[in-house]
């Protein structure tokens, strides 16, 4: 009797195991990139999905639809798709500038709830329309359906772009002491170019900084190992003859919050270990120790640029560097309101130390 009963149970388990819906890859539409635009009082959603051809070749394809509300976009895309749409493999969400200016709170909250998308999802802002940009990448790339996500990843890992992804975006968005930022793209002819960092205040796009400034953001945000920065070190007239290219090997910022009379002062100490690979030939003069001089100039210029950047943030009343969060960590009973009332007039003083580790294999 026992044997038969257990067999019946086993059979039941197998039957129940079949209840879950399996989804073969060629029978679903895997969205990899999604674009949101706002144009003529309509929201426009663009989905990029790969079609699997024979072998490893995949071709990016696009679906576009418009709707008066944001939430309605994916269902409306479904109405144009023969296969069910899956968003589990989403790698990039691109917002058109107009859309971002109207605020991306709705999408942000929806993403915070969505368990299907991963935390490594990238978000970004396109200067014109997101649709146009996705269109270009779909056309110009042959088989790489993840052109833009790879572009972001590459620039975060080896160049000037500070690290961003869905987790970090939500972290900065919800944090009372910081504002989020995202990579910023522009259309340049038939190509897409990373142009810097788009800045947000409470989920609304308010401006952007270029890639040079995003290097400063990157080293001010925390320990980093990458990025390049061109600096002017002399007055030798000829174009390019007075610049050095600094490559960051390892940089670490330290913040100090103190009171100076009736004002608060924020000291920012940045220590950069750098290599200088490209520098003008006059620096090579044997015997003369020009590099100590150049180092001082570099430090001075970096400090000035940082001051300018902080001023820009203060003017815009945004805090992408998370200064509020830092001050919270060193203040008991930190009060958000009063801190940000004081923020635009905050005295922020950068102090930069550059250590030139090496200058390549030649002298």
């Amino acid at each position: 009797m026992g044997m038969k009963r257990w067999l019946a149970c086993l059979l039941g388990l197998l039957l129940l195991g079949g209840c879950a819906k399996s989804r073969p890859i060629d029978q679903i539409q895997i969205i990899q990139q999604m674009g949101y635009d706002f144009k003529d009082d309509q929201y426009i959603g663009t989905a990029v999905y790969p079609t699997f051809k024979q072998g490893p070749m995949t071709k990016p394809n696009m679906l576009t639809t418009s709707s008066p509300t944001v939430y309605d976009l994916i269902p409306r895309l479904s109405a144009k798709s023969a296969l069910p749409i899956e968003e589990g493999q989403l790698r990039l969400i691109l917002f058109g500038k107009q859309f971002a200016e109207r605020g991306i709170e709705q999408i942000t909250h929806s993403l915070a709830r969505n368990n299907k998308v991963g935390s490594h999802l990238f978000l970004g802002v396109a200067e014109g329309s997101a649709k146009e940009l996705l269109d270009i990448t779909a056309k110009t790339t042959l088989s790489d359906t993840l052109y833009l996500p790879n572009l972001i990843k590459q620039n975060e890992q080896s160049m000037n772009l500070p690290k961003t992804n869905l987790h970090l975006f939500l972290y900065r968005y919800f944090s009372p002491g910081s504002d989020p930022f995202l990579p910023y793209f522009e259309k340049k002819g038939g190509f897409v170019k990373l142009e810097g960092v788009a800045l947000f205040r409470d989920g609304r796009y308010v401006g952007h900084v270029d890639l040079r400034d995003s290097f400063l953001m990157k080293i001010l945000l925390g320990e980093t190992k990458n990025g390049v920065y061109q600096l002017k070190v002399g007055e030798r007239g000829k174009q390019g003859e007075d610049r050095v290219m600094l490559q960051n090997l390892w940089a670490k910022p330290t913040y100090k919050w103190r009171r100076d009379g009736d004002r608060h002062v924020l000291d920012v100490f940045v220590h950069i270990h750098a290599s200088v690979r490209d520098y003008p030939s006059w620096l090579d003069e044997p015997g003369a120790n020009l590099f100590t001089d150049v180092k001082k100039k570099m430090e001075k210029e970096l400090e000035q640029d940082m001051r300018r950047l902080f001023h820009y943030f203060q003017e815009k009343r945004i805090d992408p560097m998370g200064i509020g969060d830092f001050v919270r960590s060193v203040t008991r009973r930190w009060d958000r309101e009063s801190f940000y009332r004081e923020y635009p007039d905050l005295d922020i003083r950068p102090h930069v130390t550059v250590d030139i580790i090496h200058t390549g294999i030649g002298e």
């Binding site: 388990l13 991963g118 919800f174 009372p176 969060d325």
Partner: protein
């Protein structure tokens, strides 16, 4: 009246280490951070520590109490001994209701997670049928099988899920821990109150105490187990504090599962699905031990064999899952379990201990007078 159990049914004292830990850690581990950080922010880890220390005291108290029970029996025989057949029986039925509530809550809250994360279209009954059939299978094997299940329910998740936590350090914001002690004692105590529920589960000891070989010697293992539980909760809350900020965590239902979204390995992109799947091994002992305790209370109380009562109890649980599927229902059940569990362990057991202690004292002095 009461015969001690045959030695072949008993388990080694050190296995208490696995049973206590397996019953303490459950679905709560996936989402305990939220209410805690709402109350105490970055000081939530203190609440975890304080609640854990309180648990140590209660474990000690439970062993003291059980030492009074006649011929190494469980709490049901203790009730009978001190309160008589009827009133003692009523108290034991209260205990039965609590175990039933606990089993039901565990079942429901895990099914909810599976439905939200993995199979949104599946009905609750399909999962609960599978789980309850497995529960029946394990319990009909006897308490030694239940203990074995607890062993694997501790070892496997500890070896697989726990190391994944380290991936979150990539996003660590250590300044989130500062300033230390920025919350008032009342806020922290409120968080301790929330946290205490997460340590519950060890009270099943009241039922399986007679199954321990040389039971009093197992106390050190119960304490060691609680130390491991405190350590795990502490690690998870500290990682959550440096990974999330207070406002962000308010938007996340299961912060631990969202943490598991971070590891990225080439052959599998979304680790949280692996975590949820392995988590069956964490949740299942919770359910099995609670249902076993129910059947045990029934047996001790009404002398009904477990083989007969078990199918009825399991059927009741199954029918229950058909009726409560909404999130608000599940939350209400969690509230009830939490409240009644805290009452049982924080109020009833100490009072019972005091009562038993006084009765014994009076008896002794009377005997001495005679």
């Amino acid at each position: 009246m009461k015969q001690t159990l045959d030695e072949r049914f008993l388990i080694s004292p050190f296995l208490v280490f696995f049973i206590v830990h397996a019953t303490q850690v459950g679905v709560g581990m996936l989402g305990f951070q939220r209410p805690l950080m709402e109350d105490a922010g970055q000081d939530a880890w203190m609440a975890v520590l304080l609640a854990g220390l309180a648990t140590h005291v209660l474990i000690w108290l439970m062993y003291r109490l059980l030492a009074y029970s006649p011929s190494g029996g469980d709490i049901v025989s203790l009730h009978k001994h001190y309160f008589g057949r009827w009133f003692g029986g009523v108290l034991s039925i209260g205990l039965l209701a609590y175990y039933a509530l606990a089993a039901f809550t565990v079942l429901q809250s895990y099914i909810e997670i599976i439905k939200v994360w993995m199979f949104p279209l599946m009905g609750a009954w399909q999962f609960s049928l599978i789980f309850l059939m497995l529960t029946y299978y394990v319990i009909s094997g006897g308490f030694r099988v239940v203990a074995g299940l607890c062993f694997w329910g501790v070892v496997i998740p500890l070896a697989t899920i726990f190391p994944m936590m380290a991936f979150a350090f990539e996003y660590a914001q250590y300044r989130n821990l500062l300033p230390v002690l920025d919350h008032s004692p009342t806020q922290i105590l409120k968080a301790v109150n929330d946290m205490a529920f997460q340590y519950l589960g060890f009270e099943v000891l009241l039922m399986y105490y007679p199954f321990l070989k040389n039971a009093p010697s197992s106390q050190k293992w119960a304490h060691a187990s609680n130390v491991l539980t405190i350590f795990l909760y502490l690690v998870v809350i500290l990682i959550s504090i440096i990974f999330y900020n207070k406002e962000q965590i308010a938007h996340i239902t299961w912060p631990t599962l969202t943490l598991a979204k971070i590891p990225e390995v080439p052959f599998i992109e979304r680790m949280e699905y692996i975590v949820i799947s392995i988590y069956v091994l964490v949740v299942f002992p919770n359910l099995v031990v609670a249902v076993w305790a129910m059947a045990r209370v029934v047996k001790q109380l009404f002398s009904i064999r477990q083989r007969r009562s078990l199918p009825v109890l399991i059927a009741c649980l199954f029918i229950g899952t058909l009726f409560f599927e909404e999130k608000s229902d599940i939350e209400r059940f969690i509230q009830w379990t939490s409240k009644s569990g805290l009452f049982l362990i924080g109020v009833y057991i100490p009072l019972l201990y005091v009562y038993v202690w006084v009765v014994e004292k009076v008896k002794k002095s009377l005997q001495q007078k005679q």
